[in-house]
């Protein structure tokens, strides 16, 4: 019985791994280059209109547990609310971007497999609720697609295009050189690193704030102005990155990651004894020694780093 279940799970994993790159390959084969070239030329060609009061745009990528662009997990909402409260109109936050698929297509609508993902989500909290973890597994595999040198350039082109549309929708002026900060949880940080290659190639100054981020040695790191890696000492997932991705190892001197470290553009910031998820994670209410909740430590640190870099001003209290 156990062997049967293990074989079945191995079979499911194999099918998921084999089919993972197909959406990316299919998108690129059908319309990827035209869409990518059009959006890059668009970014390069326009003269910005004056008067955008925004200091900085923040593009938010949730972690691998999400299934739709319109859904932000409840524990993450206070983070965005606090940043909005602290910086007001000086910081414009762009959400509703699903970085784990092409063309901002979530899992629950507009796909032939949508019924399957809706079924898995519906199992949460019920008898076979563990199966809903297949959604996270699917997104983790997409992180591997992004990190793969063969597929990454195509995947990241698709994500960058989606980000660009989101930025335009939020009022970003092409050519304005207003900085864009990606804030990515966990695997979302890798997606952000990949997309930054294309955005910065079109003149947009890009930054990445990785919250418990799992990032490969992505070429996009070379084009980031700065990458802040916010980590918890009890986060058991972050140490997997140097194991999984050879370019993250200290002796990989010619890797994008190590170049960033040598340049001082990649910096690590230890928040405390935070775990990757669950109780005691980055957004939990557990108390730190200074009395703040872990959540407040994370939020305050994120905001302080943006201010210290000169990217955004505090909101005028008046």
């Amino acid at each position: 019985m156990i062997w049967g279940i293990l074989v079945a799970l191995l079979g499911i994993l194999t099918v998921m791994l084999l089919t993972a790159p197909l959406e990316t390959l299919s998108w690129w084969a059908r319309r990827g280059p035209e869409q990518t070239r059009r959006s890059i030329e668009h970014r390069r060609s326009l003269t910005p209109e004056p008067g955008d009061p925004t200091d900085c745009y923040l593009v938010y990528f949730s972690g691998v547990g999400v299934a739709e662009p319109s859904i932000i997990p409840k524990p993450e909402l206070p983070l965005l609310d606090s940043l909005t409260k602290r910086f007001g109109d000086n910081l414009r936050i762009v959400t509703e971007i699903y970085p784990y698929a092409m063309e901002n297509r979530g899992l629950l609508k507009g796909r032939r497999t949508a019924w399957w993902w809706r079924f898995l989500i519906s199992l949460k909290g019920k008898r076979f609720g563990a199966l809903s973890a297949l959604v996270s597994l699917r997104n983790v595999i997409q992180v591997l697609v992004s990190a793969d040198r063969r597929y990454g350039p195509m995947f990241s082109a698709g994500v960058a295009r989606t980000v660009w549309k989101g930025l335009l929708g939020a009022g970003y002026q092409p050519g304005s050189k207003i900085p864009v900060v990606f804030m990515g949880w966990s695997g979302g940080a890798q997606m952000a690193a990949g997309a930054s290659w294309y955005l910065s190639a079109a003149g947009v100054p890009t930054y990445l704030m990785a919250l418990g981020g799992v990032i490969a040695d992505d070429p996009g790191i070379d084009r980031l102005q700065h990458l802040w890696q916010l980590i918890g000492t009890k986060d058991g997932v972050i140490p997997l990155a140097p194991i999984a991705f050879s370019g993250r190892r200290p002796w990989a001197r010619d890797s994008s990651w190590q170049r960033g470290v040598a340049d001082g553009r990649v910096t690590e910031h230890v928040l405390g004894p935070f775990k990757h998820f669950g109780h005691g994670s980055y957004l939990s209410r557990r108390r730190a020694p200074d009395g703040r909740s872990y959540r407040d430590v994370t939020i305050d640190t994120a905001g302080d780093l943006l201010v210290a870099e000169g990217l955004v001003r505090e909101q005028d209290p008046a």
Binding site: S26, A29, P33, A147, D148, G152, P153, M154, A157, D222
Partner: protein
């Protein structure tokens, strides 16, 4: 119908014995080998390899009828390269063995040794796919060594030298013809599609940051990907 079922059963049995390195069990297949089974095995390996390298098709936006044409060309290439490798093995064996095999036997040995490459489709898997493909290559070499040692009646050491020599010479010949055939392919591709041929995905990154000027691309593609004075991607064999 019975003949088809029998043939399919023979094919399955052949592949099963090869993957288990059941060399004693292969003796009947060796004694009664047929062109149809041998050719089918080669074409199945070619199909698996094409699937594993689907990224090359996608990067160059091959779909629809283009996939069919690519499959046919891939099959022809697989047959041609198997014949080429067989000729190399046959020539090396003629120079080194007192009782050299026939060319047909050499072809059978090379063809059956390619059986592990039926797993080449696993190269499609992200992150570890390339390593799985290399594992299949190594396994294929080991199987070639085994079948050469067994069916040519030579010891393990001589078998290793024959198999190793075949691989090295085949590799060198492939490297020699790679550049001119690559250029020819680029010309044919451009004539047919009106588009430049992408050799690998990193060219996508490059084209996003520079113009499509062919001379500029040529200069940059010979070595590491250098953008704005920063070396960002090292040349690597992505296959």
């Amino acid at each position: 119908m019975n003949q088809v079922v029998t043939w399919l059963t023979d094919l399955g049995s052949l592949i099963d014995r090869l993957l288990r390195s059941d060399l004693a069990g292969l003796r009947p297949a060796y004694d009664n080998w047929t062109w149809s089974l041998t050719l089918t095995l080669v074409l199945l390996v070619a199909t698996s390899t094409l699937i594993g390298h689907a990224v090359v098709l996608a990067v160059n936006r091959v779909h629809g009828a283009g996939v069919v044409i690519s499959s046919l060309l891939n099959g022809l290439y697989a047959v041609a390269s198997t014949i080429g490798e067989s000729v190399v093995l046959w020539l090396i064996a003629r120079w080194t063995l007192a009782e050299p095999p026939s060319l047909a036997l050499a072809l059978w040995l090379v063809a059956v040794a390619s059986a592990p490459r039926l797993f080449h489709f696993l190269e499609l898997v992200p992150w570890i796919g390339t390593w799985l493909g290399r594992l299949a290559q190594v396994w294929s070499f080991v199987l070639l060594w085994q079948v050469v040692s067994t069916f040519l009646g030579v010891g393990a050491v001589v078998g290793l030298l024959l198999a190793g020599g075949t691989w090295v010479v085949t590799y060198l010949v492939t490297q020699l013809v790679r550049a001119p055939t690559g250029r020819l392919l680029e010309v044919i591709w451009y004539r047919v599609t009106g588009r430049d041929l992408y050799h690998n995905s990193r060219e996508i990154l490059l084209r996003a940051v520079v113009s499509d000027d062919p001379e500029e691309l040529d200069q940059r593609l010979d070595g590491p990907l250098v953008v704005d004075g920063v070396t960002v991607v090292q040349p690597e064999d992505e296959r």
